[in-house]
């Protein structure tokens, strides 16, 4: 049973890694077959929540992940409308997690994909990420951190998030004038695979991630807390699989999918301190949320309305990032972004302290 579980997550990781690399061949931005943070940011832009013209597109991968998870959870009777565990706190943490992601320019999932493309800046990000997870795990989680329990919610409450995905997908296909799409050549938002390809890729990843409980943050957390390697194996399998696929693609095509260097990486910058601190905030915040952005999407498809609120927090965070000039670019981080990351670390730490050390015994 246990060996079987590990084998399943390794196979799932291999499939996800291949999909991530191949999506770039089909048109996604380089080293961005998947990026939950970037894609939510693009969706925020498409809906006009921010007006950064280079990053506006409704990403079917996100829609696919949530609906894939919804389908898998429904089929296995795991779908359950649940929520009410400090939703507003989760919203705030998610808001700052997004600021960390857009400082680094990627969610933990894209961090692995960037590593698999040879982007060494992601290695610095990984160190910050693991350290953030360590702080969250040992200083808070293991000392009793809790956002209190969830309760059963009306069935409809759990179905709203998947329904929103269907509506947003309809907006993508119908493309009315009030939806913003980056114009060709304008930036990452204009680079995307065909809608059907992106949607199917998302659906497959959604189903696999729901069945395996894949989580980038959970991988290191479970290793630290329980000496369990299952989730980390999934993380590692994605890395190896995407790496091998990138090397093969570089050999058999004219394009370069693997470039082992710090400089000249696609949709990335080389400011090590802020790559480190951005991902530190992401690792730390996600531990307090109970999962990485990918896992939040999957849980929101399973009827977890706290995770749905978390995803909304990520989207609002992304909108603020571009409205307030917090997001980094290839030129590096902005001053506003640096200040926001510091504020984020402080806010997340306060939330951690209050919910760990200042609790009245019930």
């Amino acid at each position: 049973m246990k060996k079987n579980e590990k084998l399943v997550i390794i196979i799932a990781g291999i499939i996800i890694g291949i999909i991530a690399s191949v999506l770039v061949v089909f048109g996604n931005p380089a080293n961005m077959g998947f990026c939950i943070a970037c894609f939510l940011r693009d969706i925020a832009g498409a809906l006009g929540l921010h007006r950064a013209a280079p990053v506006q597109y409704i990403r079917p991968e996100i829609i696919g992940i949530i609906l894939g998870s919804f389908g898998a959870a429904f089929a296995t009777k795991e779908f359950k409308a649940q929520g009410g565990s400090a939703p507003l706190t989760r919203f705030v943490i998610a808001f700052f997690v997004m600021i960390g992601c857009l400082m680094f320019l990627g969610c933990p999932f894209r961090m692995i994909i960037r590593l698999a493309g040879g982007d060494l800046n992601a290695l610095i990000g990984l160190v910050g990420f693991v350290l953030g997870i360590g702080v969250g795990t040992f200083v808070f989680l293991n000392k009793g951190y809790s956002l209190k329990r969830t309760y059963a919610q009306p069935m409809l409450d759990g179905i709203i998030m998947p329904v929103i995905q269907v509506i947003v997908f309809a907006l993508l296909v119908a493309a009315p004038a009030f939806i913003f799409f980056s114009e060709a050549g304008a930036g990452p938002g204009a680079k995307h695979a065909a809608i059907a390809i992106s949607l199917v890729a998302g659906l497959v990843v959604g189903v696999l991630a729901q069945r395996t409980r894949l989580c980038m943050v959970g991988g290191f957390r479970d290793l630290f807390l329980f000496k369990q390697t299952k989730l980390l194996l999934g993380f590692f399998a994605i890395f190896v699989s995407a790496l091998v696929t990138n090397v093969i693609l570089t050999v058999v095509t004219d394009a370069t999918y693997f470039n082992f260097a710090f400089a000249g990486q696609p949709v990335a910058h080389t400011d090590g301190v802020w790559n480190f601190l951005g991902m530190f905030l992401v690792g730390f915040g996600c531990i307090l949320l109970g999962g990485c952005p990918l896992r939040q999407l999957v849980l929101s498809g399973e009827g977890n309305t706290d995770s749905a609120i978390t995803v909304l927090g990520l989207i609002v965070g992304a909108a603020f990032c571009h409205n307030f000039g917090l997001a980094s670019s290839a030129d590096g981080p902005t001053l506003n972004g640096k200040i926001a990351v510091i504020i984020g670390i402080v806010v997340v730490a306060i939330i951690g302290v209050v919910n760990t050390y200042c609790k009245k015994e019930a």
Binding site: K2, K80, S85, S146, L147, R149, T150, Y151, L225, F226
Partner: protein, 68 residues
Amino acid sequence: MKTIDTRGLSCPEPVILTKKALALNESEYEVLADRVTSRDNIIGFAEDAGYKATYVENNGEYKITLKK
């Protein structure tokens, strides 16, 4: 027999509570869970710690019995 109520808690809290309770090294525990992920993680952890786990389902909630 000690009872651990993890209902409604998000992962990994159910497993942390179980881990802390198992550290007391009693021979039998009852753990309540209401998510499949929590149930599987608790059973996985307890089996690693040398307990035999069985569970019954009742209306979407799981009563897990751990015995050494």
